[in-house]
């Protein structure tokens, strides 16, 4: 990460403010829910919301502080969060992973897992088709044998496994 290269990447202030705002919102939610369950110190000790209330206050305060500093120094912030090329690399991982996880509820863990491994080997490695397909199939099958057959741990399965009779 170089400090001075403006424009070649994502300015740090944007994710900084985003994360701080997110934490501030979480703090707000915690405070709201604590108020619902009661934040008093009853005569037999604190109620269910007593500790979460202070946790929420401190979370909102610390996140608010970071957010405020970021906003105040908005135009002066020159540090980069990451260069665009680096972010592209992260996205190259994050996007397929997200697709994989979104597919899990519909197709189970095995088929999307095989596709993810295959996609990655083909896209980011210089593997031949045979090596790719073999690895992509062997890994989920190994997991199936270890988890379902040996350890009797049922993993998420989809229509294809059901069609095969598992």
């Amino acid at each position: 990460m170089s400090d001075q290269e403006q424009g070649a990447g994502l300015n740090r202030r944007i994710p900084e403010a985003g994360v701080a705002a997110l934490l501030l919102a979480v703090g707000g939610i915690v405070i709201m829910d604590s108020l619902r369950v009661g934040i008093e110190w009853a005569d037999d000790g604190p109620k269910a919301g007593y500790f979460p209330f202070f946790i929420g206050i401190l979370l909102a305060f610390s996140a608010g502080w970071t957010l405020l500093l970021t906003l105040l120094g908005w135009s002066r912030e020159t540090k980069l969060f990451s260069q665009w090329s680096e972010l592209r690399d992260v996205a190259a991982m994050l996007v397929p992973t997200t697709v994989f996880i979104v597919a899990v509820p519909f197709l189970g863990l095995y088929v999307p897992g095989a596709v993810l491994i295959g996609y990655f080997m083909k896209r980011h490695g210089d593997f031949g088709w045979i090596a790719t397909i073999l690895t992509a199939l062997c890994v989920p099958v190994t997991f199936f044998l270890i988890f379902e057959r040996w350890f009797l741990v049922p993993l998420a399965k989809g229509p294809i496994e059901a069609w095969l009779g598992f």
Partner: protein, 504 residues
Amino acid sequence: MDELNSLFQGFAVAMTLPNLGFMLLGLVLGILIGVLPGLGGANGVAILLPLTFSMNPTSAIIMLSCIYWGALFGGAITSILFNIPGEPWSVATTFDGFPLAQQGRAAEALTAAFTSSFVGAFFAVLAITFLAPLLAKFALEFGPPEFFAVQMLTFCSFIGMSKDPPMKTLAAMMLGFALAAVGMDTVTGQLRMTFGYPELLKGFDFLIAVIGLFGIGEILLTMEEGLAFKGKSAKISFKVVWNTWRELLQYWRTFIRSVLIGCWMGITPGGATPASFMGYGMARRAAKDKESFGRGNVEGVVAPETAAHAAGTSALLPMLTLGIPGSPTAAVLLGGLLIWGLQPGPLLFVEQKDFVWGLIASMYLGNLVGLFVVLTTVPWWAAILRIPFPVIAPVIIVICAIGAYTVHSSIFDVIMMLVFGVLGYLFKKLRYPMAPLVLALVLGDMAESSFRQSMLLSQGDVGIFFGNWLVGGLMALAIFLLLVPAWGSFKDMLRRREASAHLG
């Protein structure tokens, strides 16, 4: 020397050839369980249970308990290689173990971790052998206020001295506490922060957060730095094992400290996870070069591993003598005992002598055999880092997803894992520290219920935390540990002010 006699009889029971075979089987299975996040001791027991009915109870429990040792050993492997803690008590091992692997010293870190595990477990078994009745009595001293004091002490030993921005440290810690509060409040039975979603009823599991924050977060960071793991150049040979052993000798103080912390946390029963954090925190405080912790210091692997294993082992003592399991795996063993008609409790040592001493003897043997097994596999484990990144990265993601799913068989948890992964990436880049978040998540729930149970007992009088020498001493120590870094920074500030005054 009644114990010694009994112990030697125990060795005679445990040392038969078939028993050694069962031991090996249990260990290998246990290591596999430790390596794969998502498999727990319960699964191992489920597989071996049918096998055990043709054995006598002693052989059976030896085999089942070896699953436990194997899992304790195996948890360190993925923590060091991929920053993914296979078991909760390996989280603190990642802090220095993973940086070591990145520097190409994976074999060294693994050797240190395994050896420390052995040392921790070995001394804990010694304590069980000779001090069992005494220790069991000590465990009874622990009521809610004492538990709260211990949790407070764990926390205070760990926080402070962080180089990260204080407001971000605070935010990370509070986020951990907030997540820990989600779900049912154990004291009043009220639901908190679930907003009517059944998925939130069970709260945020520590393992899911950790798999996401550490495992997925690390993969994203690695992507940013180019498509490769840095630890590729790890040199692999058995010489590393010898050299590491020689180096480990200088950490004898850390070993002793962590063994004491671990035994104490295991017996009370505070659990292996807090013990590992406390062991790490105490080692960092005591070290001269505090800066090197978190950047690949072997001592930072030794301290948590020793403590976690001393705790994991000594946790079997309250299980055997009081019937309270110190960990989920111990609970499964407890179920195993019941099937053979062995009722854990104060009388087990009297009524089932052969069995108990056979088990204790097998603890010595199981650990020794376990150390041998894992050390011979060090080169193989380190070699995993040579698998090309485009293959290993998606496999790790699939393993993480499986691990997150199996905790509660919930798809929602897999999605949460991804959210935690992105958060882990952002946190690391924006210098939010992860350790306070994780510690708050694991301790928050326990500490709050202990505190409120204490308040119920004393009817709202905070004086209960200084009610007797034990709880008072623990609290005083906790507060002392909290104030030391504050005092240090206060002194620094004074010095700086003086210096600037002189300049001015």
